[in-house]
């Protein structure tokens, strides 16, 4: 059954403009970062072009390969906490906004299969985005000719970015649950923004490694220096994934669907 449900979930993405929107949005990040690095490296020319070299200097960043790559990792962490919830909200929420939830839920298909298939589609969508934009980011960084690049450093940064993107995914079932409870897009988007704000707030406390929405900021260095996560953080994230998935399935099975 999962094959049939997956096939239909991928079919639903046909001619969907949102996927191009997410690609366009995320792929702007390396270009923006590259521009920032160029301004830092060439403040005089940037000023001639009317770009704000002084403000760029205030960021504390240097125009080096390591700075570029560590900031790129942060981009994927932030993307995982904002863009990924948007993707999940779209996949689950469209059934309510397009009025098709009532059709879907009366089919002879266990409702857990829909949750599983939508999460798989979200994972594939997110993975493709990350790989494409990560490749773009590395190529743009290399083209910029920043000092300090090395193969080992690039591999390490790519690994960190992929890990940040992967562990961000463990938070999304909770977003899916908020979407099916709220039956639309606004709830999960507001939830994602609140999650990111709380994550940053808790990130400055001693409990950061145990609060699911602080773990990604902690790992990528959004709230201090990048840290290697303790095992407990992975356990917390895995539990978040399991609880979020179970809550989404339970809501679809038990709650009234009076769309």
């Amino acid at each position: 059954m999962i094959r049939a449900v997956l096939a239909t979930e991928f079919l639903k993405l046909r001619r969907c403009k949102v996927r191009w929107g997410t690609l366009g949005g995320l792929s702007m990040a390396p270009l923006g970062l590259a521009l920032f690095m160029w301004i830092l490296r060439e403040p005089g020319r940037a000023a001639q072009l009317g770009l704000l070299g002084a403000k760029a200097n205030l960021s504390g960043l240097e125009a080096t390969g390591p700075a570029y790559l560590s900031t790129l990792t942060i981009v994927f962490g932030v993307g995982g906490m904002l863009l990924l919830p948007f993707i999940v909200a779209y996949l689950f929420g469209r059934e309510y906004t397009e009025g098709t939830a009532k059709n879907m839920l009366a089919l002879p298909v266990g409702r857990h299969w829909f949750v599983a298939a939508k999460l798989v589609v979200a994972a594939v969508w997110w993975f493709v985005l990350v790989v494409v934009v990560l490749a773009e980011g590395v190529l743009v960084g290399l083209a910029l000719g920043l000092p300090g690049f090395s193969v080992g450093m690039i591999a390490n940064s790519v690994g960190n970015a992929l890990l940040a993107a992967a562990i961000s995914f463990l938070l999304v079932p909770v977003v899916a649950w908020v979407t099916v409870v709220g039956r639309g897009y606004m709830g999960p988007i507001a939830f994602a923004i609140a999650g990111m704000a709380l994550g940053n707030l808790f990130g400055k406390t001693g409990w950061a490694e145990f609060f699911p929405w602080s773990i990604v900021p902690l790992m990528i260095g959004m709230v201090g220096s990048p840290q290697t996560l303790p095992t407990a953080s992975y356990v917390v994230l895995a539990l978040t994934f399991v609880i979020g998935t179970a809550a989404t399935i339970a809501t679809l099975r038990l709650a009234d669907n009076a769309q």
Binding site: K12, R15, T100, K102, A106, P108, V109, R253, L254, A258
Partner: protein, 315 residues
Amino acid sequence: MPVDTIIATRALTKRYSDVTAVDDLALDVRRGEIYGFLGRNGAGKTTTIRMLLGLIRPSAGEVSVLGARIVPGETSVLGRVGYLVETASAYPNLTVRENLDIQRRLTGAPCAAVVQALERLGLGTYADRRVGRLSLGNKQRLSLARALLHSPDVLVLDEPANALDPAGIVEIRELLQSLARERGVTVFMSSHILAEVAHLADRIGIVHEGRLLEELDREELHAKARAYVEVGVSDPGRAMGLLRAAHFAHIERITEGGNHGGGGGGGDILRVFDAEERASEIARTLLDAGLELTRLAPTREDLETYFLRLTGGAA
């Protein structure tokens, strides 16, 4: 429960905080029967249909379809049920064919079923058009095609004639009749349009404020419509007195336009009930008293009027 009962509800109730949408509903729909579930807007028709499909959980009572008790998440018999709930809806960025293909894959129907459904509902020329660009009527056809695609044994249709033009209504009526007669498909359809239900249904349940007011077959429905003699007369007030004195017990005075009332307008007419065979006696009574008759018409209440009378609307 009779052996050939396909849909049954027992003491079915749905409450939303202080609102009771469906109240103690007991229905039996037999195999191959077209059951018309008739009620005004907000009567509880769609809520009942949602419970039949396991979309919402009853507050009390139970539903069974094809012998299986239906609760949310129960899917064992849903593969044998086709349905249309409330408004027609489909994925707007997909074509008609792609939308049907989703239904085909998830119901396990063969590939040929999509083409058959397109032809059956007259959607062939729109097969590759995106649903977002379809007219409302064609969206309704698509929803019906989706309901029929996997050749279900039971059809649960919420207002199937919505948005269809008159020719489309006749076409769907004939299609449903042929499915019931030739394939033994059981059809449970809701409607607020009495004429449509009266044309199509073998049996009709009239629901109002969540309660089943009456259940009757088509012939009974016609028989229940009351007969009366409509009388236009120069002095309706005096005429009422004369007719009562002549033992016509049930007389209503209505103003032209249909409102009941006791006003003394000269345009008022009288409806004398249970007097189909006594029209000449009415005429004689009034003419002998020197009144002028402007109208004398034996009439049978139409079904709409009967429905409105039963559900408390203006007749």
